[in-house]
Symmetry: D2
Subunit: 339 residues, 4 copies
């Protein structure tokens, strides 16, 4: 069975996912596209021979759409996801699930009322082979209980529009999700402190930032977010347990010896670094949809948790580094697991 | 456009490629299957809703088959490939193209008579990201002219049926192809010597073997083939040029520190090691077929060259390590390039 | 000229340094030994044909002693160092210089009154080749201004007598010294937080601890101190600057591939890890003494600074992680430099 | 006891060893120096307050000389070593022990007639920590029987005076010695082949060369000698056994991430690469001399074997790569061991 996907939002990310659904994922086809910018919607739809629909609501309810992909502007996510739930259709929503914790909760409630999981949120790192290997190692148990996690999330540079709160909302949010999953543990507080700022940034931006998260079990996570590190897109993650540690590998790259040095290239682009993760993410989502099964990726609850924790981080940044609790509702049994 | 592929040979490799064409490559569908073992053909065809046809010839000529995949027993390859050329259909033939140089030449001649390239041979390493990075580095020129290549091809173990000549025919043949492409140079001689044999092998097998190849430019390649190395499937390749060297990376794997050691797992299985290469190989083949273009992968000429060089290696092994010329016909302009 | 060294304290460290002065450093000889345990002093002295003297004071004033090595119990350091200064003799004092900041200051004042540097404190990491390479790279300037430092100091295990404050006093003090020197920057505050504790420790001990230091320039240092990590003695240090980073290497160790893994051994013992640093430390000290020059290693001021910062860390630990200022006197011009 | 060393030959190597005996090795002192260039001898002797003697013979027989270091021109080695044996004094002879196998044998015979080992030959790699780790791993046995060794010996560049035979005599001779010791096996044949030559060399020189050695046990060693590799001084060694392999580590070096790359520096100088090996070599030699014990380093027999094998390699080079037997006398029980 081929899953017919309708796409809300035809911007850069939307186009990349349309390409993925078309060229990488075999059991999917894009049948409908909508965008506030109608011309852009038409242009993108034409490349895959899809219909252009005037609104998210019409797209969601189209008989030619089996599943919905939301890649529109963040503040519109909640409405589209709620509409998809109302229509009883599987919906993949790019991060964030919603821009407020309240809206995330409304989605959670709607989904619970529906009675089965329909929502998957677009946190792709859970599908990265390196993180998956880490999860296997941790699950095997020979490293003992996790105690600490050291992470770095570095981008070579960011555009002018990137502001200080985005370090949590857009950047650290990936570690927030993947670490909750990796540790199978919930984050209960966030703190953001600012070391000496780099001079290689736009004036308004606090960069780097160091974020500290604590979990229910007392695991302490520190995360360096440095979005103008200049040398590359570099993701580091090390989990230290009672009996040993496990470390995320750097991407495989040829070693070159020349001119007095041994060197390997550092990836420059997150789309390249996580290309395989994105492909697997969509492949597994389509597989679950085609099977009529619940999605196995990040849930609406994970989207809610990420938003609550991100909010706490932003509040900490705005209050000069106070430790801010992540005040989350109790996790409904509906969503299973610990985190 | 979806390419309708007919598959000749429904054994293990055939089944894996059918899965790939179905689940990984988007623009393909498997419409017909044939196998000497009719029951097996039926079973495999059923999984993808394909027709079962009584013979390769009928499959090749079926109006529901746009392109042919040959994964049957080696000695039958030539006949199927020649039939496909006669039918003017693109054909992907697993290695070897044919079991004799003469049969390879007949294919080359038939393809030239047809007037455009129809044949791609299944050497997947050209599609591996590590080798592709090496090729880019060499092409960039800053390492100067290549002088030497050091390689190792190690398998943890092989079954009883694996005999000494297969070290060249089945194992080293991958390096033979990928190094001709990497260096853009032709191999002119082969020599196979046998160091002290491992005791961890079936008695009849000479293992390890060291193969030495020389190219037109004088580049000297040494290749350790060790198919009972026990610790893993390990592929090493280092090209040394006048101004530096480039080395194939090991696959990315999490680092683990525990019990006095820092360790990373070594891949155990060639299907895992080259999974991405296989996927890319078929994706690019289908793309070329869908576009009505000539294939960009290894050509019939490459298949012929690999067979001639493999034959030379086997003769060297049988004559206690004499240097044996690879007596190749002059390369027709039809096939372009140097190697 | 051979420097005649008198050694105060003949315990394990003292014996190791006596061996070093005798077997590794060429221009030194040990001529006198003293220890509260007279029998031990006699036994150790006999191995190198040195005199046994009844007290530190007599040893310091012996005409057969050109330079003094203090490796006695920490609380006695100050007295011996002050006596050596009073005698105008070069003195190498194992860490700590003194157990209180006040005593350190008395030494600083005495040395200033003397008019030239006589004191070197035993922080050996400044002599480790890896840290020296890092210092060269930072000094070369192409990484830009340092912004953050990430460190780990892990021991496989510690004895029962090791208590929570020793994580700062005995363990982190090495990073405190080497980072002040590496960054050429002063530490102005300390904070110690405690993640989930390992179960593999004596009950009374808080382990691991995370220490955060901030410098005058705003560089933020985080240091994981984990003294029951079980897998090895592992020292990590990464300095992140505006244009790139530099990372301390792991010790060179043979790579082994066997039984599905690539592995390298992790050092288990700090004496092995820093053997070369210790040798160089004493070689350079003896060279300066033999030349009648001021020592080039860590000064009395560095000893004072380390004690003030260590005290701040201990206070933070005792007050549940508050940020504690390191209230240091202004650095006298006598001691040059920034840190 | 301090060993009083007399040094024959005050050139660059001699001066470096005099520095080492003076500044690095504690139990030694240089008491006499001789050199054909009397002015140079005087100049060097003055730096360490040693006597200048008119000839090797007089130096060897001086009552102020306990042990002899021969670092003069190769063709003079045999005479000095034989004189030292005649005088019953320990002698450390820089490689080669002698320039002909016949002269080496005369030394072996003289030493046997003397009745105990007096001679150590200056092959320093046996003292390198990396090779020593490899030896321990091989001795531990879990890699099984060694089957193959892959080596590279690369120098950034060589002067005009370096000619093709020196690739064996001066360069590969280090691997010849260290591999005999590492494998505890004797080399029985040598072959030298020449790949495409680098254009970055003096015209008269064949560079690179590949040398193949076979041992009694059938282990096959291949060694790339490339003395104009331009990027650095790079020593590689990998021993492949039945159950796994062990690889010599690269020297520890800081990792630097900047400008899109992760890089580590490659050592440029053999004196730096093997500095620790040289120090340990002389320290252990002086320890054995001071104890009146036989030296534990490479013996006269090892010097003989290296010369025989080197000769075989040169003959192979001169005869276009024929396999040449290393015709060695039977190893006398006097020298123990297998290789």
């Amino acid at each position: 069975m081929t899953v017919r996907v309708g796409v809300i939002g035809a911007g850069m990310i939307g186009q990349d996912h349309i390409r993925r659904l078309t060229e990488v994922v075999t059991a999917a086809t894009v049948t409908a596209v909508t965008d506030l910018d109608t011309a852009r919607a038409a242009e993108v739809a034409a490349t895959v021979d899809a219909a252009v629909l005037p609104s998210g609501a019409e797209l969601i309810n189209s008989p030619d759409v089996d599943a919905v992909l939301v890649t529109s502007w963040g503040p519109t996510h909640a409405e589209h996801v709620l509409n998809a739930i109302a229509a009883g259709k599987p919906v993949f929503c790019e991060k964030p699930l919603a821009t407020t914790a309240e809206d995330c909760l409304r989605i959670v409630e709607a989904e619970r009322a529906h009675g089965s999981r329909l929502v998957q949120v677009g946190f792709m790192r859970r599908f990265d082979p390196g993180y998956r290997q880490m999860k296997e190692v941790l699950a095997a148990g020979f490293l003992g209980a996790p105690l600490m996690v050291h992470c770095a999330h570095r981008n070579p540079t960011v555009p002018d529009a990137y502001h200080s709160a985005m370090a949590a909302q857009d950047t650290a949010v990936h570690e927030i999700d993947v670490l909750r999953w990796l540790l199978d543990d919930e984050i209960v507080s966030a703190q953001v402190v600012t070391p000496r700022a780099t001079s290689k940034r736009f004036e308004h931006l606090k960069d780097p930032q160091i974020m500290i998260f604590e979990t229910v079990s007392g695991v302490r996570i520190d995360l360096e977010v440095f979005v103008n590190c200049r040398y590359g897109y570099d993701i580091q993650c090390e989990v230290v347990g009672e009996d040993g540690l496990v470390r995320l590998p750097d991407p495989a790259a040829v070693g070159i010896r020349t001119a007095t040095r041994h060197a390997t290239a550092v990836t420059q682009d997150w789309k390249v670094r996580f290309a395989e993760a994105f492909d697997t993410e969509f492949r597994e989502w389509i597989t679950s949809v085609a099977a009529g099964a619940e999605p196995t990726g990040p849930s609406a609850w994970d989207g809610y948790a990420a938003t609550v924790i991100t909010d706490a981080a932003v509040r900490s940044l705005e209050t000069d580094g106070t430790v801010v609790s992540a005040d989350m509702k109790p996790r409904p049994a509906f969503y299973g697991g610990a985190a």
